[in-house]
C-alpha cells in the first residue's frame, strides 16, 4: 500500500509492502502525524507549543510528547555547541527542526508494532525504511541534486537506518580563491546524514548544516553517523565510514 498526504506543509508518504496492510493501518499512522501537527504547529493558535509560548501551560502540565521533544532539543543544543537552537530571536520556542524526525521515527515504530516489516516513511525528504523493497532488495535512497531537483547525485542503502537531508538549495555567490586561481564557494547547500534512525539523522543533520564548512567534521566525530555534503561549487565530501552505506 502506498499513500501520500500533505501534513505539516509537506508531503508525507507511507509505503507498506506487507500483504496484511490495510487502509485502516495507514489512516492510523497519518492520524498520528496530524496529532503531532496539532500539538507542535506554530501556525495553530491552539497548539500546545503556541499555548506554552503564551505562558498558558506550566512545565508540569506539558504532554509527554512535548516533554520528550523539548528534552531532545536541549540535548542537541548542548551536543552541537548551540548550533541547534529552537529559541527564535523573538523568544518563541519553535521545535519544528526536531518534530519532523521525531514524527517519522514514531510512525516507523507504530508500523512495526502493527507487525509490518517491509515499509518506509518519507516526510519532506527525511526517511525511515524497514525491511526490503518490492524486489526483495534493500531500500535504495537517492540524494537529490541540490542544483537540479529532477536528478539524484548519490545512492545510499540505509539498511534499517534513517536518512535526513538539510539544505537550502540556494546557490551562494562564488568566491575567488587566490591560492588556486579558481572560483569556488564556501557555501554548503546540502548535507545528508545517515544514522541509526531518522530522528538521530535529522537532528544531527540540522545541527551540522548550521555549522557550515565544519558540519561534515562534526558528523565525522559522532559515532554511528555518516554524512555526505555538497557545496555550492558542486563538490561533495563524505565521512570516512560512508562507504558501508554505498552500493557495491
Amino acid at each position: 500500500m502506498r499513500e501520500t498526504r500533505l501534513i505539516m506543509g509537506m508531503p508525507v508518504t507511507l509505503v507498506v509492502l506487507d500483504a496484511c496492510a490495510s487502509q485502516e493501518h495507514l489512516d492510523a499512522v497519518f492520524e498520528e502525524f496530524v496529532a503531532v501537527d496539532n500539538c507542535f504547529s506554530p501556525y495553530k493558535e491552539d497548539s500546545e507549543i503556541c499555548r506554552i509560548n503564551r505562558g498558558e501551560i506550566p512545565e508540569a502540565g506539558q504532554s509527554p510528547g512535548m516533554r520528550e521533544v523539548l528534552a531532545l532539543c536541549e540535548r542537541t543544543r548542548l551536543e552541537s555547541e548551540g548550533f541547534f537552537n529552537i529559541a527564535r530571536p523573538d523568544g518563541f520556542l519553535d521545535p519544528c527542526g526536531m518534530v519532523k524526525g521525531w514524527a517519522i521515527r514514531n510512525a516507523a515504530q507504530q508500523l512495526k508494532r502493527m507487525g509490518f516489516e517491509n515499509f518506509y516513511v518519507d516526510a519532506g525528504g527525511d526517511i525511515q525504511a524497514g525491511g526490503k523493497n518490492e524486489n526483495g532488495e534493500d531500500w535504495r535512497v537517492g540524494i537529490r541534486n541540490p542544483f537540479d531537483p529532477a536528478e539524484i547525485v548519490k545512492v545510499v542503502i540505509p539498511r534499517g537506518g534513517g536518512v535526513a537531508t538539510s539544505g537550502s538549495y540556494v546557490r551562494g555567490p562564488h568566491i575567488y580563491n587566490p591560492h588556486t586561481g579558481v572560483y569556488g564557494s564556501d557555501d554548503i547547500v546540502s548535507l545528508t546524514v545517515i544514522g541509526p534512525d531518522v530522528l538521530e539523522a535529522d537532528r544531527y543533520a540540522t545541527a551540522a548544516f548550521a555549522m557550515g564548512r565544519e558540519g561534515i567534521f562534526f558528523i565525522e566525530r559522532m559515532a554511528g553517523l555518516e554524512g555526505y555534503e555538497i557545496d555550492a561549487g558542486g563538490m561533495a565530501r563524505m565521512t570516512t565510514g560512508l562507504a558501508r552505506y554505498l552500493p557495491c
Binding site: D126, R140, F217
Partner: protein, 135 residues
C-alpha cells in the same frame, strides 16, 4: 480597513500551511499556487514581507500582484550560511574523500532532500499577503 491584521495573518498562515507548497525553491509557481478564500481580494502592486529569521538566516520575499493574482515572487534575502566556524579542539581534522557531484542514473526507491526553507517561506508569504489584502 483591516482591523485585526494579526488575526488575518493567522488565517493566511493556516491557509498556506494547508496549501500544496512543497517548497524546495522559492518560485513564482509556488506562490501562484496559493488559493485565496472567496471574498479575499489582493491589491495590485509589489509587497515585501517582513524579514523571517529561522535557523540559518533570514528570508525576505517580494510578491507582485496583478489583477488580484500573484504573478511573481522574488527572494530579496536568502540565508547564505556563512557562519562563524565551530571552535574546534586542537586535534587535526581527518581528510575526507571528496568528489564532484554527478547525476546518477541508478534506480532508487526513495529520494532524500531538504525542505528547510519551507516554513520561513510560508511565513514570508503570509507577511507579504497580509500587506496585499484589500480592505
Amino acid at each position: 480597513m483591516l482591523t485585526n491584521s494579526r488575526h488575518n495573518g493567522v488565517f493566511l498562515a493556516r491557509l498556506l500551511a494547508s496549501a500544496a507548497l512543497a517548497p524546495v525553491f522559492v518560485s513564482t509557481a509556488q506562490a501562484a499556487g496559493v488559493v485565496l478564500p472567496p471574498g479575499m481580494h489582493l491589491m495590485d502592486g509589489d509587497f515585501v514581507s517582513d524579514p523571517q529569521t529561522f535557523e540559518w538566516g533570514t528570508l525576505q520575499i517580494k510578491l507582485t500582484i496583478h489583477d488580484g493574482a500573484i504573478t511573481a515572487a522574488e527572494a530579496l534575502q536568502m540565508p547564505s550560511h556563512r557562519r562563524r566556524s565551530v571552535e574546534l579542539s586542537e586535534m587535526a581534522k581527518p581528510i575526507l574523500l571528496s568528489e564532484a557531484v554527478q547525476s546518477q542514473k541508478a534506480q532508487v526507491n526513495i529520494v532524500s532532500s531538504a525542505t528547510l526553507t519551507s516554513v520561513a517561506f510560508q511565513n514570508a508569504m503570509v507577511s507579504a499577503l497580509t500587506k496585499a489584502v484589500a480592505h
